[in-house]
């Protein structure tokens, strides 16, 4: 049903039941918000979004107020803007004044609001809480002094991730977002996904940086510094450099990274192809032996940690394959090191990931080979962008270059890993070939593409009927896994990615609350798949050579040693 409301003197049609905020934004009227998160239930706690309700002469929070027939609203009256200004001033009253040193300088919502509302002096002096930064996590840094208690991280962690390792504790001026017993993220069930960082309006949340170590390695003449970048990266950063949004700039990145001083550059998508070789064989093996089904992917370290904590009974179902990052790392420090005659001790292996959990994965015990880490340092996409700027690289001037060889070729199947559904799609393409000896006629599996949180399809491959489920957002994963635990039997393969939309929406990506950006990146990956000729991992020429020269066959002895691992139940405070 449609109703009419009056906004700033103009009549506006609105759908009954909508919030005032949604109606306003549909009509292009921008009201500032802080605690509000799109598509989530409003909490109405920050009051930033107040508007004047003329009928009652009150200020109401537009994010939680529902439109009513005949409502008269003023969105920018003097009373409203003054109220908003005071809210910002109160938030600033105990806020550190160190914007110049803050990671979010220039990209901070609090800064933006302060500017928008013309805050030019400190009128309200509040007492600063002296609180230590939580540095306990290898992925996430929390600085409670910069926290304005909007609660967005808390809600994302609970509602999207189903982790809920943080909450607002204490009260009044002592309130703080903390883990249970304030013991630090590393003792909690935090899965390092970084989605909290993505929604934080201020510099209170950021990634643990490996910047300094990498710079040091680059200036160490005894180190060969090797870098790989995840499938999602090259379609996620163009706009950061003023290039066309969503454009695949892999070639430009290769050139830029060499210019910065990296000795060898690889696209992790190559290792994604390798993962597919191993994982599709594993899938077929488990289906034929009818053991530990459904097989669940292991590419997402946030999911793996979630499993170790919340569903340890399903650990046997998780693929023993290391993630592409770790496979690439392991191959770089073995096969590749031998090829180019460098000692693996002299290799410093860096990766660029859309992900904060990869920092955690990189330092896991399980991801080392005789004491040497597969991957030494991980940069998020955000850090990578800073790195390029720091080294004064002009991306507009770069001529595209190819990745280093061997390991330089990837297929479009490997590239699909960046989007939710991509791993499953790539695995099925190769499993189909292994089982039937021929290639799929139609490679695309539309049922498991797109942003939806849970997707499913049933496929006929030769004599086998295979049920495939794809979930993104760990809260969605929980729902599906509950069904599996309750005895659901029609699903044989599950792809789980922690982040909404998959890694393109990862917690290490440029901070941008716009869902469109994620959609553009996904489209870009699909475009690559549509236009390129090698669409299946088993046809990657470099992968074929790698098996012939070094690994033997999928699930073979060498693979087992370098590319597979196992996990255990993890005790944390839940």
């Amino acid at each position: 049903m449609s109703i009419t409301i009056n906004v700033n003197g103009n009549k506006i049609e609105a759908k009954a039941g909508e919030t005032v905020l949604n109606v306003l934004s549909d009509h292009g009227i921008k009201v500032p918000t802080l605690c509000h998160l799109k598509n989530m239930f409003p909490t109405g706690s920050c009051r930033m979004c107040v508007v004047e309700h003329k009928n009652t002469d009150k200020l109401i929070t537009s994010c939680s107020a529902i439109v009513e027939e005949g409502m008269e609203i003023l969105t920018h009256s003097p009373r409203v803007t003054e109220a908003r200004k005071v809210i910002v001033e109160l938030l600033l009253s105990n806020h550190p004044d160190d914007c110049l040193y803050c990671v979010r300088n220039g990209n901070c919502e609090l800064q933006g609001l302060s500017q928008e509302l013309c805050v030019t002096e400190r009128r309200i002096q509040g007492r600063r809480n002296k609180l230590p930064i939580d540095t306990s996590s290898v992925s996430i840094l929390r600085d409670p002094e910069k926290c304005i208690l909007c609660g967005r991280c808390v809600r994302v962690c609970e509602e999207i991730m189903g982790v809920a390792c943080i909450d607002i504790s204490k009260r009044g001026s002592q309130s703080i977002v903390s883990t249970a017993f304030d013991k630090g993220l590393n003792t909690s069930s935090c899965v390092n996904c970084g989605q909290c960082i993505m929604v934080c309006p201020t510099g209170a949340l950021t990634e643990q940086s490996h910047f300094a170590e990498i710079k040091e390695a680059l200036s160490d003449p005894n180190k060969k510094v090797v870098i790989q970048y995840a499938p999602a990266i090259s379609v996620s950063v163009a706009e950061e450099f003023g290039l066309e949004a969503g454009k695949d700039i892999a070639g430009i990145m290769n050139a830029a990274l060499r210019k910065i001083g990296f000795d060898y550059v690889f696209d992790t998508s190559f290792a994604a192809d390798l993962t597919i070789m191993e994982e599709s064989s594993e899938l077929i093996k488990r289906i034929t032996e009818n053991k530990n089904l459904p097989l669940i992917t292991s590419c997402c370290p946030a999911w793996v940690k979630y499993a170790e904590e919340f569903v340890p009974e399903l650990i046997p179902n998780i693929s023993s394959c290391k993630s592409p990052q770790q496979m690439a790392g392991a191959i770089i420090k073995s096969y590749f090191a031998d090829k180019v005659h460098i000692k693996k001790e002299d290799i410093y292996s860096v990766s660029i990931m859309p992900c904060t959990a990869k920092k955690f994965e990189g330092q896991r015990e399980e991801m080392t080979n005789k004491g040497i880490s597969d991957v030494d340092a991980v940069l998020t996409t955000r850090e990578f962008v800073k790195f390029v700027k720091l080294f004064g690289i002009n991306m507009h001037e770069m001529q595209g270059e190819t990745a280093d060889s061997p390991l330089g070729i990837r297929t479009s199947a490997g590239k699909l890993f960046g989007a939710s559904g991509g791993v499953a799609e790539a695995a099925i393409r190769t499993a189909y070939h292994t089982l039937t000896g021929s290639e799929l006629v139609k490679f695309k599996i539309p049922e498991i593409r797109g942003l939806k949180g849970q997707k499913e399809t049933q496929l006929q491959i030769g004599d086998l009927k295979i049920g495939v489920a794809v979930v993104n957002g760990l809260a969605n994963a929980k729902k599906l896994l509950d069904e599996i635990k309750a005895g659901r039997k029609d699903i044989h393969f599950i792809e789980i990615m922690a982040c909404p939309g998959g890694c393109v929406g990862g917690g290490g990506q440029p901070i941008n609350l716009d869902e469109q950006a994620v959609k553009d990146r996904i489209q870009s990956l699909y475009r690559i798949d549509d236009t390129e000729s090698i669409k299946v991992s088993h046809k990657n020429p470099d992968v074929i050579i790698l098996y012939n020269e070094f690994l033997g066959k999928p699930l073979g002895k060498k693979s087992h040693e370098l590319l597979h691992t196992e996990y255990q139940k993890r005790d944390v405070i839940i």
Binding site: A164, C165, D167, S169, R171, S178, A180, F181, S189, I574
Partner: protein, 155 residues
């Protein structure tokens, strides 16, 4: 799990989050404070993340997260006591014992709590230590009172 806590939780067999506060109250009643392990058990029992249990529990002044000291000091913050300087009394105690409200001294001797009017307004400002009322507390008498309790230990 500790027997007392088990008993309390057993009384709330099919409880949901609404029972959180009454459960916490009962545990504190029986143990004098809320330990990490009790809070974790409560979370498990109610199927609630411990971070949330902790968040709710720390919101309320009534809950303690350290065991009570040998001598538990209650400072009355009722109106009469307030008028006669209970704020200063509280401050002085915190300074002397180097603890805040809700905390316990490292040696486990003293713990501190504030309470609303305890109904002995004639004695204001009043503090209550293990059931003994100390009336008309001043900065000077306070240090004597504290000393006298410390001596009790030495005997």
């Amino acid at each position: 799990m500790n027997e007392q806590t088990k008993k309390i939780l057993n009384k709330y067999l099919h409880a949901d989050r609404d029972s959180l506060i009454p459960i916490l109250q009962e545990i504190q009643e029986s143990e004098g404070w809320l330990s990490e392990s009790s809070l974790t058990e409560v979370g498990r029992h109610l199927n609630m993340p411990v971070s949330k249990v902790y968040g709710v529990a720390t919101f309320y002044n009534q809950f303690r997260f350290q065991p009570q000291g040998k001598f538990h000091i209650q400072v009355c913050r009722g109106t009469a006591c307030h008028v006669l300087g209970s704020a200063t009394v509280l401050q002085e105690i915190q300074k002397a014992l180097k603890i805040k409200v809700g905390e316990t001294t490292k040696d486990g001797l003293f713990s501190l709590e504030i309470v609303a009017c305890i109904g002995t307004c004639g004695l204001a400002p009043v503090i209550n230590i293990n059931g003994n009322f100390h009336a008309g507390v001043t900065t000077e008498s306070l240090s004597e009172i504290i000393e006298s309790y410390k001596e009790k230990i030495n005997i």
